[in-house]
């Protein structure tokens, strides 16, 4: 375990997560008091004091997120670097499956990031109003965020302290838990129908954003996210690696592939998070989040363009597809 914890990136990463957690702990303690005593209509000294503290709490949370946001790609980078120490691991995918904490940790990280984005969105509109109409809602949401961050920290420490550098781990097949011979694509799709769904759902998502059809946007974007994961791993990824059998969501984040994985997954997740948070914001009375939705559509467009570009490039270079 020591060689893992003492590895520079791991130490920096864990220390950063710990510091963020402490900041959020302070915000959490103050938030509980705010939630129980808040009465915006009151002009008592206590309420004035609470309003000052509320501003402090918001500032702390926003700063914590500003530090935490780059920690997600840094986590991916760190485990990728650790693959040199873990036998059998060729990239982050192998390190993630080195113990039972890895995949739950990755899942919690994504959910935590999403919940942070939701909180920031509600906070933005709450401050815009000037009389904090959604103060209680965002305070309750922050309690959920802090719980997730605490679970994440525990999983972080458990994950890194339980990586056994003497026991071999496996790579992509262990991560996906596939049965040999089984069609890995969802719904029994083949590659052609997977791509058909990929591009169609992209058009449906962007089109529904353009005409502000929120319910369709919610459904199509979620389905698009799901289909995109498989499309990237089982089709577009093979063109990034230029190898039909190389199916890994992590390797494309390495230097050899110009770190393009960060752009691919970043634009996909960023676009989806943006859509989700704007749809949630628009459930608040009087709130319009058109700009966020359009920016999210732009991110998804970049995602589709980058993925398609690799296929086009391969075809132009070689005259055939893989």
């Amino acid at each position: 375990m020591n060689e893992i914890i003492l590895e520079t990136n791991t130490a920096v990463y864990l220390l950063s997560e710990l510091i963020v957690w402490f900041m959020l702990l302070i915000a959490f303690i103050v938030d509980i008091r705010l939630l129980t005593r808040w009465d915006y209509g009151s002009f008592d000294p206590e309420q004035y004091e609470l309003e000052k503290r509320a501003y402090l709490v918001m500032t702390v949370i926003i700063f914590a997120f500003a530090v935490k946001a780059p920690l997600l790609p840094y986590f991916v980078f760190t485990i990728d670097e650790l693959s040199a120490l873990v036998p059998g691991a060729m990239c982050g995918a192998g390190v993630i499956s080195a113990n039972g904490y890895g995949l739950p940790l990755l899942f919690v990280k994504i959910v935590t990031t999403l919940s942070f984005v939701l909180w920031l969105t509600i906070n933005h509109y709450d401050l815009e109003e000037g009389d904090y109409p959604w103060f209680r809602l965002k305070s309750l949401l922050f309690i959920a965020v802090f719980t997730l961050v605490s679970v994440e920290l525990w999983l972080d420490i458990s994950f890194f302290t339980h990586i056994d550098t003497t026991r071999p781990t496996s790579c992509c097949s262990a991560l996906f838990g596939l049965l040999e011979g089984e069609n890995p694509l969802p719904f029994g799709l083949d590659t052609k129908s997977l791509l058909l769904l990929f591009y169609t759902l992209y058009l449906v998502t962007v089109g529904s954003i353009a005409i502000s059809w929120n319910s369709m946007t919610a459904i199509s974007s979620t389905l698009f996210l799901y289909i995109s994961y498989y499309a990237v791993v089982y089709f577009f990824g093979t063109y990034i690696y230029q190898l039909p059998t190389h199916r890994c969501p992590f390797c494309m984040m390495q230097k050899e592939y110009f770190y393009v994985g960060y752009i691919v997954w970043g634009t996909l997740l960023g676009g989806y998070f943006g859509i989700l948070s704007s749809l949630v914001a628009e459930t608040l009375p009087g709130v319009g989040a058109e700009r966020v939705k359009r920016f999210s559509a732009l991110l998804l467009t970049i995602f589709v363009a980058v993925c398609s570009a690799y296929v086009a490039y391969y075809y132009i270079e070689n005259g055939v597809l893989l």
């Binding site: 915006y40 002009f43 008592d44 000294p45 004035y48 309003e51 501003y55 401050l127 000037g130 009389d131």
Partner: protein
């Protein structure tokens, strides 16, 4: 809008309760805590100012009038009590809202002018208009009108640092009224002026009153005891209103 020579009430005394209140302060306290001691700068202040009224907050140094003015302007927050300006509880607005509100509704004239010495008169007057989103043509028009009202147009290109005390004060007036605020707050505006310039200031104040502005002046200068236009004097002492 022309004013008559009543006591400042457009509609007459009997209709006070029905008047449009621009400033409503109720049970206001302002305490300063330095750890071991608590100093009460304002104690149980309740005050209303009607639209178009001129109120003189009179009191010696340390009576709390500047603190009260700062709270009315949103530059300070009370320890307790409500402060409503144009119907908004400004004591509770978040900072960014307060800045926007102040820029739109309140013009402030300070004792020490607070001009940017290296900028010209014109540029000093335009400063509050730039972040408010006005176009260049609109800014030009508003700046010219304000300088005209404050009688400082002839010095528009001069650097503020080279102006006399009276000219600086008139530049400060122009800057305060350029965005077209309904309320003008003045903190010891004649403290650094000689008699002649003080009278010029009073004259400009009269023009603002004629235009229907709501004016509150915090001062201990006796020149404000005999204004040529209707006003109401509120006496303060030791953080309380005595009269």
């Amino acid at each position: 809008m022309e004013r008559n020579s009543h006591n400042g009430n457009i509609h007459g005394d009997d209709e006070t309760n029905e008047r449009d209140m621009v400033v409503e302060i109720e049970n206001l306290y302002r305490r300063f805590d330095d750890g071991s001691d608590t100093f009460e700068a304002l104690s149980d202040i309740s005050l209303t100012v009607a639209r178009g009224e001129c109120v003189i907050l009179k009191g010696v140094s340390g009576s709390g009038k500047t603190t009260l003015l700062a709270i009315m302007a949103g530059l300070d927050r009370p320890s307790s009590g409500s402060v409503l300006v144009e119907g908004r509880a400004i004591s509770k607005l978040p900072d960014r809202h307060l800045s926007r509100f102040r820029g739109k509704h309140i013009g402030m004239i300070f004792q020490h002018y607070n001009l940017m010495e290296h900028l010209s008169v014109r540029d000093n007057v335009s400063v509050p208009l730039v972040p408010a989103g006005f176009s260049a043509d609109e800014i030009e028009m508003m700046v010219s009108e304000a300088m005209e009202m404050a009688n400082i147009s002839h010095k528009s290109r001069m650097e503020a640092g080279r102006l006399s005390g009276g000219e600086k004060q008139r530049t400060a007036i122009a800057r305060a009224i350029a965005p077209g605020p309904e309320i003008v707050l003045c903190d010891e505006p004649t403290a650094n002026l000689d008699r002649a310039n003080a009278e010029i200031f009073i004259e400009i104040l009269g023009r603002l009153y004629e235009k229907g502005k709501t004016i509150v002046v915090a001062t201990h200068d006796p020149i404000f005891e005999k204004l040529p236009f209707p006003s109401r004097v509120v006496e303060m002492s030791d953080g309380k209103i005595t009269e």
